[in-house]
């Protein structure tokens, strides 16, 4: 079987298209590259959707934690503490158990025990907590001059937040937020590894790497392939986030821009 055929058969195996049976016997490098790459679809899906959806909640959490109002501050503080204070491994375990018990009482929760939704929710909450803490740190270090200037222009409430506080917060938080994005993509490998089941052998990159390591009894080929894919993803994240970061800072003079680059304030 040529490599092209293998790619045609297995490139979308992880989402249920193509050959149903996984390769058996005589495992080729091409099969390993294709299937592990196919599994990356899930990692990318979890990473992107959790990151984008988590962004909104993270902003709310940061504002809540910085709020003067105790009823807003305390829940935000506790939420962040709970999700930053416990390993994702354990969060997946409890997430799955929780959804499973809800499901037995309310049929509405049926899809929540599948990874595509249940694990996504856990990742969403987790990344929201971490990003929330990063944004909170950034909120605390917004230069006083910025907010004073906003006051002087007569901005207050929502416009003040939308046009002055929020953009500055993002600018300050961006390097640390890039790190968070990298960590989030890495932690997507835990989805099928602990907690959530794999249906019909549709799993993520680690699931297939594990499959090949298990079948060939040689961990030295599939895991480095997996590592290579993740290095590629990491480079893409750094590049994309760098582009966005430059856009966020486009109004600053060249010299000041450079200052924003290395500020390892809050990395996860």
């Amino acid at each position: 079987m040529s490599c092209l055929e293998t790619i045609a058969d297995y490139a979308f195996r992880s989402i249920g298209y193509g050959e149903r049976l996984l390769p058996r016997g005589d495992y080729t490098l091409c099969q390993q590259f294709t299937l592990i790459g196919s599994g990356m679809i899930w990692n990318v899906y979890f990473g992107i959707v959790a990151l984008i959806s988590g962004f909104g909640l993270a902003t709310a959490l940061a504002v809540g934690k910085a709020s003067q109002n105790r009823w807003l501050r305390k829940p935000a503080e506790w939420f962040i503490f709970l999700f930053r204070g416990s390993p994702l491994f354990i969060q997946f375990f409890f997430g799955y158990f929780f959804f499973l018990s809800l499901k037995t009482h309310y049929p509405f929760f049926d899809p929540f025990t599948s990874a595509w939704l249940g694990a996504l929710i856990v990742l969403f909450l987790n990344t929201a907590a971490y990003s929330g803490e990063i944004f909170y740190g950034a909120l605390q270090s917004i230069p006083k001059g910025d907010t004073e200037a906003a006051d002087a222009y007569g901005l207050s409430g929502w416009p003040r937040f939308r046009r002055v506080v929020w953009p500055t917060m993002l600018r300050l938080a961006w390097p640390a937020y890039t790190n968070e994005a990298i960590f989030l993509f890495h932690s997507t490998t835990l989805v099928f590894f602990s907690g959530f089941p794999a249906w019909q052998q549709r799993g993520d990159a680690l699931y297939y790497a594990n499959y090949f390591a298990d079948k060939t009894f040689n961990p030295f080929i599939p895991y480095p392939i997996l590592a290579m894919y993740f290095i590629l993803v990491t480079l893409v994240i750094i590049w994309t986030m760098g582009r966005i970061g430059r856009r966020l800072n486009r109004h600053l003079p060249q010299e000041a821009r450079r200052k924003f680059r290395f500020r390892p304030q809050v990395i996860r």
Partner: protein, 240 residues
């Protein structure tokens, strides 16, 4: 100081030489999570059918043995890279595994795997079947083309059936018997699947002499009936 190290090395060397194949201590690798074959007892030690069997085999082959546990996932790579000398962990002899490691003769005959379900009249071919990732049972369901759902640990497969996530779980019969004891709602289906060969001890391919020693010990236990008695005591499989 240097002298001291040299002497201990020399002692270690002669001790090693004393054994025909260089194994002064044979390290027995097992999983410790597969009752009644091998499990960790209340005292925190390896226990079960294979512990008793292994100790007896070592006594017959006049070897000093030591027990170690290892995750199932990496149990073969750790054997081939020499972290222990044998695998005695309820491992079925399959062609795939036999290509990488060597097996002794089987010490239990091939036994069917069973299904555990909430509904005794379930048609497994149309249902959702749970199995542990990387087991011969999971491969069997995938091969048959039925709906397979895989979990990382055996507990989760049973929990999935209880919660209605899966309709049945396919696993080794003796493990399912244990699970059934603690949950009255579960029933064992009549249908059974013949998968996997007998269970044998795994060794490195380069370790021919050690394999011969254990093979001879298993033969002698088969001949004098002690092996059958042990199988019956632990209810792990059918007898020879």
């Amino acid at each position: 100081m240097k002298n001291l190290i040299l002497t201990t090395a020399a002692v270690a060397l002669t001790a090693g030489m004393a054994m025909a194949d260089g194994h002064s201590v044979v390290r027995m690798g097992t999983e410790g999570a597969y009752a009644p074959w091998n499990f960790i007892n209340d005292a925190g030690e390896v226990d079960g059918f294979e512990r008793e069997l292994g100790d007896e085999l070592c006594a017959r082959a006049e070897l000093t043995c030591e027990w170690v546990t290892n995750e199932w996932d990496s149990i073969i790579p750790n054997l081939t890279s020499g972290n222990y000398d044998t695998i005695i962990a309820g491992m079925s002899i399959t062609d795939e595994r036999d290509e990488v490691i060597d097996f002794t003769q089987a010490y239990t005959p091939p036994d069917p795997s069973s299904y555990l379900a909430m509904d005794g009249s379930l048609d497994v071919e149309g249902g959702v079947i749970a199995a542990q990732t990387g087991t011969i049972q999971a491969a069997f369901i995938a091969e048959a083309g039925w709906t397979l759902v895989e979990f990382a640990t055996p507990e989760e497969t049973v929990a999935a059936v209880v919660a209605g996530e899966a309709d049945a779980v396919l696993a080794d019969k003796s493990f399912l018997m244990t699970a059934m004891e603690t949950n009255g709602d579960l029933v064992m289906l009549e249908r059974e699947e013949m998968i996997g060969g007998g269970v044998g001890m795994g060794l490195r391919e380069s370790d021919g002499e050690l394999r011969a020693a254990f093979d001879a010990a298993i033969t002698s236990m088969k001949e004098d009936g002690t092996l059958n008695a042990m199988i019956e005591k632990w209810e792990v499989a059918s007898t020879w």
